[in-house]
Amino acid sequence: MRSRWGALFDLALPLIATLLALLVGAVMLLFLKANPLKAYWALVVGAFGSTNAIAETLVKATPLLLVGLGICIAFQGNVINIGGEGQMIVGAILGTWVGLHFHHWPGWLMITFALTMGFVGGAIWGGIAGALKAYFGVNEILSTVMMNAIAVQLMNYLLRGPMIDPAQAAHASKIPQTARLEMAYRLPRLVPTRLHLGALIALILAFLVYLFLWRTVWGYRIRAVGKNPHAARYGGIPVKKYVVLALLLSGAFAGLAGVIQVYGVNYRMITDGSATGFTGGAGFNGIVAALFGHLHPIGTIPASILFGALLVGANKMQRVAQVPSALITALNGLVVVFVVSSEIWRIRRQRRRLAAQTEKEETTEEETTDYTD
């Protein structure tokens, strides 16, 4: 009985943290002489008020979920990947390039190929950071930040030069964007809204990532390395390889998020010179979603929808209550701070429970006997 209440408490913590963040946001709104109730109501209506609104929320949630899945893998392996932005960009570049280069393929074939290329592109970008960490001791936080900056410039260069839309190249304005993808190459829409197949793919992948992390040897080893690298090494796990694998896979899912953004929403790549111009900040917000979902792939699903809703609702809020949508970025930051701060209560409770448990019996939790070869 006690553990059920405990589980409920664990689930409620992020919600309490969110409510606190919204409360602080309300105070900020009062300072800016905006009515918080009106602003938040506009937010809710904007995110869930109509079929279209819900579809938009899910469209925004898709890249958050995909990036978040990668973050789950990385953080379970105890590597901090803040290179989601760069990995999304590189995945999108590779996936878009094949779509523009090869013509008249059957749609399903090109989509499969392009998504694979996006996966590979992100994997390369994340894998480089992984290799730098494993074999050169370069902190992954630093390398992923640098790789973000490099990816943005790479995108700007390609969209202004080699990959620019021929129509724009001929034009004086030279807007840095690629040509549009052929109709057949675009991800099919699910209902008569902008909701596309990518959302479904992300949902299925969430279950696969769960199975990967908790039901395969590789996933088990990534988590073992994350929990205690010394014990993992002692247990015969090649730690370096699994550090690289964790960052590589993490990047791959971000890359997939990038290419799906192109094939499902924009049908072309366009840059305003910054990373967020293309990603919409999903590379960072995906981290928020994953944390909110307790770094569990399934938990990340509702978390992504929540943050997708915040992003979509923010636009409505901006129109109705004249509150800049930047408020949502600030609130996301507060949510992260509050969620990680609230962890202390969960950990304390866990410790108490463990202490009580060890008094009664010697057996420990989870699969300690599996896979130890």
Binding site: I141, L142, M147, F284, A326, A330, G333, V336, E343, I344
Partner: protein, 310 residues
């Protein structure tokens, strides 16, 4: 083209810009050095810089006083530091992740306040260059080193000061012992919490000033996300500089010189796509990190929350 780049006046221009561009990195990275030496990884520097840059700009715009602007940047940096200290010291939150939270908070809030309070791009009169008598007339060295604004000089003066405080004073010893072995420091009666509060708040103040150095020193304007990753680079420069003020100086200068070089290459018209040129300092930083990092050991307690046993 290359001849043009190698002409004396251009070379002096590159060196002088490099010295100037290093300023925000120096403030932020010196602050971060103190934090990391005491075992705290602050990834929120970027957010602190943005808020510092905004408040310095806004207060200067409204009051017309650069000094009040600078003060505002320091105060808002200190407040951000205080919040970060509470979260990481008292609540023992994961430092890397809470830092990202503070980054997003600063990013959003500075943007929000800018849109609500300023609205359009405006410029101000920033700190004027001070020509140091006699020295500024020296050939080459004069324009490179002695014709900058006050915030630039102070940034460079901070380097020996930070070295002295870290290595030759009691508080420096406390900071280092808390970063290396908090349990031992605690048993000797040093308050781990107090030391970390001090370094995190000081780091916040310096990050705030780093932002001010940008908005009322170098560019004299505020724009959304104007730091565009500089705070994260500053954190990288601390690793790069092996947690030593002199190393941080070397890293900041190298990074900024390469940045100045690529800017001048575009000015002079070297036929390299500007987007690729902008990449140069980042690629270089990764390469240097590859060669240097593995040889130096980080503070043992870095990013580990401290909790008294028993």
């Amino acid at each position: 083209m290359l001849a043009k780049l190698l002409s004396a006046s251009v070379l002096i221009g590159i060196l002088a810009s490099g010295v100037r561009l290093a300023t925000p990195y120096l403030y932020a990275a010196i602050g971060e050095t103190f934090g990391q030496r005491s075992g705290v990884l602050n990834l929120g520097v970027e957010g602190q810089m943005l808020l510092g840059a905004f408040f310095a700009f806004y207060v200067t715009l409204v009051t017309g006083s650069l000094w009040l602007g600078l003060l505002a940047a320091a105060v808002v940096g200190a407040l951000m530091g205080l919040a970060m200290a509470f979260v990481t010291v008292n609540l023992q939150a994961e430092q890397g992740i809470s830092g990202i939270g503070f980054y997003l908070f600063g990013l959003g809030l500075s943007d929000l306040l800018f849109q609500k309070l300023v609205g359009t791009v405006k410029t101000i009169q920033g700190f004027p260059p001070i020509h140091i008598p006699v020295l500024s007339d020296l050939p080459v060295l004069g324009p490179v080193l002695f014709q900058h604004n006050l915030l630039v000089y102070v940034a460079y003066a901070l380097v020996p000061l930070a070295w002295f405080v870290l290595n030759k004073t009691t508080i420096g010893l406390k900071i280092r012992s808390v970063g290396e072995n908090p349990q031992a420091a605690d048993s000797l009666g040093i308050s781990v919490a107090a030391v970390r509060y001090y370094t995190i708040i000081q780091g916040g103040v310096l990050s705030g000033i780093a932002g001010a150095a940008l908005s009322i020193g170098l560019l004299n304007v505020f724009q959304q996300n104007m730091t565009s990753g500089m705070g994260f680079i500053a954190v990288a420069l601390v690793y790069f500089g092996a947690w030593r003020p002199l190393g941080v100086l070397g890293g900041s200068l190298l990074f900024s010189m390469v940045n100045a070089l690529q800017l001048w290459m575009q000015v002079v018209g070297v036929p390299i796509p500007p987007d690729l040129a902008v990449m140069m300092p980042y690629v270089l930083t990764i390469l240097v990190l590859m060669v240097t990092v593995s040889k130096v050991r980080a503070p043992s307690a870095l990013a580990k929350p401290f909790e008294r046993e028993g």
